[in-house]
Symmetry: C5
Subunit: 319 residues, 5 copies
């Protein structure tokens, strides 16, 4: 998780540098056509473009809302895993004992049993972490160049160590082989837990009713695991995401044509208003402003890049 208070402007510009490049091209081309090639008919009325802009802003707003909800839900599930882990620990401490045992164990032996469960629980979490790092076909970041650059600075534990290395010491050799042989490794860990607990109950180290309660914890962990996998495997619906992207690009492409219109109008007004100052003394200075008016249409470029950037970044941030 990113923990500084704010991203710096530089980071964001770097992250969006490719888009900015496109926007510059997209807005320069029509201005060149207009001024150099004199395609004076290249105007588009601003108001319909503005309507698309409003509609797009609206859709992006809803999308980002949904993205935030997903993020929040993911964070809740993660918090749930933390809570359940703590609860499991106190339950193991309180419910694994000699009270109903057929053969009394020493405190050290009971401690070893509890420790086995805790270590296996950590193995479950490691497996889950690795499963979540598997790349999915709809995830953009890892494949994009800017994403790769960005990641160089991050060291991702799951890409440095294999799951096999990470499980060492947390599972017995036999258990490790069993877990690694399964497709859903985290579910295999939980199966081992429940089997072990069941054996303990049969021998009386866990009271039958306490067994039901701990079993509920494993059911809860299955639920949380399932939720995590669901969020991982179910992206923001592709049809929505694709269309949002299209709408933003339609808006971005049309934008400079509409802006040119507005800037051209202002340019004309500047030129005209300067005409009346012509007979005045420092006409050299006024000539400069008049020139500015003539080339005023070029302001379309930075301005439409800014607006395109705002809309596109808004859209991408929620991805």
């Amino acid at each position: 998780m990113y923990t500084k208070r704010n991203y710096s402007l530089k980071q964001i510009l770097l992250w969006t540098r490719k888009d900015i490049f496109y926007f510059v091209i997209l807005s320069t081309v029509p201005v060149i056509l207009y001024t150099v090639f004199r395609w004076y008919w290249l105007h588009l009325p601003w108001l319909p473009i503005s309507l698309i802009g409003t509609a797009v802003a609206f859709i992006i707003g809803f999308k980002n809302n949904a993205s935030y909800d997903r993020l929040w839900e993911a964070r809740k599930v993660w918090g749930g895993i933390v809570n359940t882990s703590r609860s499991l620990t106190i339950m193991l401490n309180d419910y694994v004992n000699n009270e109903h045992a057929k053969k009394i164990l020493s405190d050290q032996e009971l401690f070893e049993i509890r420790k086995t469960f805790i270590l296996r629980h950590i193995a479950w979490m490691s497996s889950l972490r690795h499963a979540l790092r598997t790349p999915k076909s709809w995830e953009a970041e890892p494949r994009k160049k800017t994403g790769i650059d960005y990641r160089k600075h991050l060291e991702i534990r799951e890409q440095k160590y294999s799951l096999e290395e990470e499980l060492k010491g947390y599972l017995s050799e036999e258990e490790k082989d069993y877990v690694l042989s399964k497709k859903n490794k985290q579910a295999a860990c939980l199966n081992l837990q429940s089997k072990h607990l069941s054996a303990l109950k049969t021998e009386g180290y866990v009271w039958e009713f306490a067994h039901l309660e701990i079993e509920k914890m494993f059911v809860e962990l299955f639920t949380l695991q399932g939720k995590v996998e669901r969020i991982k495997n179910f992206p923001y619906p592709r049809q929505f995401a694709t269309l949002n992207k299209f709408f933003v690009w339609i808006f971005v492409i049309l934008l400079p044509f509409g802006m040119m219109n507005e800037f051209d109008k202002i340019g004309i007004i500047i030129v005209e208003s300067m005409e009346q100052y012509k007979p005045y003394p420092n006409s050299g200075f006024h000539y400069l402003i008049e020139l500015m008016g003539h080339y005023f249409i070029w302001f379309t470029v930075p301005f439409s890049v800014i607006i395109s950037w705002v809309f596109n970044t808004m859209e991408r941030v929620g991805e």
Copy 2:
């Protein structure tokens, strides 16, 4: 589920090709009336149309939000079925045993019992899948031509095999006949499960309190099945959906009339501004631009098709 990162533009254009066709007609007709038949009174002021556009964008935003929530809820329920299935499995493993049994069974026999439950659970899931594929009167896709074309590429398992074929091997012959004779086949499967479990408890292979816990799993499965059926059977309220469609079409129909106005204005400005260049040398080129100005109103067609397409596709994607 669609798993590529994005739909291609081609796919989306194909999917909306019929609508695009209508939009072209809807926007061409008024332009022809205006230019060819010289109905110069065919203007409409842009601002009220823009207001409708904003209102419609707003409503569609809310609708898509609701659609997304439905989708997300459906995905949650499906995740819930996965989780409950896993939990049911570990419960059957841990709770079906000889501890309280009147007559001790071999491990193989206990395994067979558990297997019967698991197979019957799969039968329940197959029945549920088939029930969800039944077409409903308010679902558009399967009947629309574009939808049919689209589906040719998808092979839907539920349409290839009958439920009877799929249940083979998962239920005994007797059970299969019972399930197929019922209207709600998935509920019948769960009834069989609970009856079998009850018998096991009477013979002591399931401890009375464990019985209560497993029974709770069946209650949970009933709940999940009910939720799935609810989402299937309760579409986005028809009155909202219909009116949204109407509003979009009212907007789409009025759009070209308002756009014509704006484009006509720009056209006139172009023509006028070209007048002053007339005495200049390359007047042939300027004449071309002036011509462009005269026919500028025809830009209404592509532009209003784009806006119509954005609004309509936005509306349809949430359906």
Copy 3:
């Protein structure tokens, strides 16, 4: 529930015919005052009206969202009743038996006991259905004329049969009298259920712990009944609903004044632009267009009726 894919345009126009009538009057009156009585000062600037329109669209959007949530919640509760009913059925099958019985009953007798519960459960549902059909003071539909027309085509079971008729066969005579004597008849049914179950437990036909589980089902049914009653008894807060209505009508009343302004401007432009065509040959045709320009303001009527209709229908659909 309405199950066709879409309402037809005709149905919706019929449903809103009274409003449409008002809108025609509201927009015709100012146009007549302007054109016939020559109150040329009757203009209003469009932009502030547009702002009201945006604000109103926004508020209606939120309201419809809330309406949809209510509907969805109601549907969930209804799904919950279905699920709980099924769960209750399998519980009665599994938990009502001779295992802990003081006096062994035949299978037939046990079946009769279970059947009594199921029938009484149906009686509970019938009572609930009838309670939900009681008209409330804030419900508009049944009293409005259009609503009455619309309902003629629907045959509402709850208005055709009295509750007393519907309970026949589901409750014993004694129980029926008891239930009908109570104010909250559905709660009375559940009280009977729990009392009967309690008696069964005392005689040993229901194991004490199973009793606790089934009792939880009745608690769940009480909860669901309470939720249904809450949704029925707590309408969308009246202060919000009333003000929404007011805001829509303020917008609808001001609308034609602002539109007249815009249409008048266009009319003047048409007339002016026709002036220059006057010396041309087919001036008869141009004269027609000029006439059209003079009366262009009359387009305010259909156009403002359409916008009023869109906003008002949007508002009414969420009611």
Copy 4:
């Protein structure tokens, strides 16, 4: 709860009469400055004001949404209290009996025990009701004059009878003194309930496991009580509420300046267009319209009062 279908226009105007008065002043002052004192520079451009208007409409929309959610949650909690009360009743009926009793009680005595619980439960509800009527520092209504007028017509039970009077008959004298001596009287009632139940369990009138279930009901009632108190004690965050108010007032204050601009323009157009009719016969009538044009700016007052009223009432209704 207000149960009529709609508030009348009169009620709402009365409720907002003070605000309307301010709006009249706020919009009259600039018009007087403009027309009487000829401060012709008092224009403000409309578009930025319109932007504030849109932003404010948006914020109010979200706020009202949040208000509605709070109201809905409050209603849910209230429904929860009803449901839990009913469930508690059937539990007391079913679980308080002689089955495990050390000393058999008569039916009448058991009935008396149950009745004590029910009466004490009513005492809990009365205490809760009184606690909710305590005025809080951030609640506006009771202190505002219009609020006081409005309340005269409502007779609030909690202000007519003291809690002490209301508890009479529901608690024994000793219990009543104990409850009234505590700060959180409703919690005290629940403590009494749980203590009494505990005593019943010790004497065997409540089975140990049933005791656990009923205790859960008291835990549930604590939860519901806590929720009710939370909604009461945690208003819509003051910083949001205050800023919303400020934003609305900034908008309301700027509004007439921007409107004046628009109305003045229209007025000028009217005057100008009348000029050309001057030579026509009924110039007296046209002179009237021209006069209307000259004073057209005064229409700013009613129009800006209406818009201010719409925005402000929207904001206040969600308070």
Copy 5:
């Protein structure tokens, strides 16, 4: 919690004084460039800026909605802690007794046991409170100067007393050392609770099944603690927050350029309309107005400061 009805205008202005200062500079600079340095080309068209404004208003609306939801959730968790504390208290009263005890304790001794639990529960709450006051890297308030000024008036208990001081009297010396030695002190407290309870169960002062119920309360407290820590540790996603800030500032920076345009236009109109009054008598007065018209562009400053302030404060309030 802030408990007055509204913040005063003064408080809010103080809180935002630094931003206001920036806005004044940001809007004064372009006006000076325009008027003093005569950079007459410094216009920007208003409409695109207005579009950014709408989009930004929209995004801020969603963000504030999310902020409010977080606040509300935090309040719910806090309410949950209150409820669970009360429930724990009645459970300790009802379930800690001699009924299953191996060695009967006096009432005083049982009371002492319960008291130990309650005091340790308070220690848990104190630890949690202190943990929540730890500053996080993304929290702005404590470091900003205005924040520090503001806080001078608030006395924060957690900053005045160390946790060690606050735990005195609530935990035994031995327990206190154990708790303070742990990283997550609140979890350590709950571990002590559960260990103590477990010991009580072994000695029979808590019935085995009651033990399961109280243990569930500790699990619940772990859950609530985890939720509180989650809300504390997971801020509104930094990428959203940063971009919102950027978008607001882009809007604020562009704003004066667009406004200048509008005000300049009005100024020109005023000057022009005054021209025609020149020959009239009190031309001195009109000259004043004309002067006002010439300097009308300076109104850009206050007006754009107000709009910037509204947007920025809206954005900051949700932080």
